[in-house]
Subunit: 153 residues, 2 copies
């Protein structure tokens, strides 16, 4: 226990403090990676269903859009806890190391996405396709911004 | 379009009707499989954090238990849409064919789990460890029941 506290103390000193609460939720780094990918998978599935309506590929259904948007908004809070130290990559689709070296920018991007999908949920509830299109575009832009900056292409 | 409607009509006649709305949400069966696995992964991660408290492996934190339980309750509604036709398996961890041949029983098991995790969320909000332990046990039993009956061991 003393050693554990000492390790935590040392880690904090070398600047890993902010990642510790998230890391502590997972037994292994692989679990964190699996978790964050899973959260994005579920979120993406529901987001794309709204996109299909916003882009006219399927008929607009306000109730379905609202249900999907609520799921997206709930899910949007989850994946970022899975970005624990030591889980960057180089392969396509993996997070680049700058997620950790530019963490404040990354976190701000995550927050922006969460704000925009909350607005998307509100727009969906308004049952107005034009509002939904605008909100979907804004939310999708926050996905792209982070992917461009922080994900290996 | 006519052919598509005809195919849907024929499928309905041969009894695939109930699976169609779910299947229509996914472009490919593999997408449905990936989706349902991802939903279970996220749900399981949060459920296991409540289990750690219920089983005394980490200190009881009512607010954390409630937050995790709410996520579990939200996620519990999602994975079953991913059990689309043609996605049974034989490998460990995959769904057995009786998910589809005993669909009413499977759906009842899913509903039971959803009900128990809703009770778990209520117990967690009550901020009472004893209640949480009972509710966690009941919810975990519903996981096991379905896994025993419908998942390849």
């Amino acid at each position: 226990m003393i050693i554990k506290h000492l390790v935590i103390g040392i880690s904090a000193v070398v600047g890993l403090c902010s990642a510790l609460p998230a890391a502590a939720q997972f037994q292994k780094p692989e679990d964190a990676v699996k978790y964050r990918k899973a959260a994005f998978t579920v979120m993406g599935a529901h987001f794309s269903r709204i996109g299909a309506m916003a882009q006219g590929r399927v008929p607009f259904d306000g109730a379905a859009a609202a249900a999907n948007a609520e799921i997206v908004a709930n899910l949007s809070k989850l994946p970022f806890a899975g970005f624990v130290d030591g889980t960057s990559g180089t392969e396509k689709g993996t997070p680049k190391a700058n997620v950790w070296t530019e963490r404040a920018k990354f976190d701000a991007g995550a927050k922006k996405m969460q704000d925009e999908v909350a607005k998307l949920a509100a727009a969906a509830k308004a049952n107005n396709l034009d509002q939904l299109k605008v909100a979907f575009g804004s939310a999708a832009a926050t996905c792209k911004a982070c992917h461009d900056d922080f994900r290996n292409q």
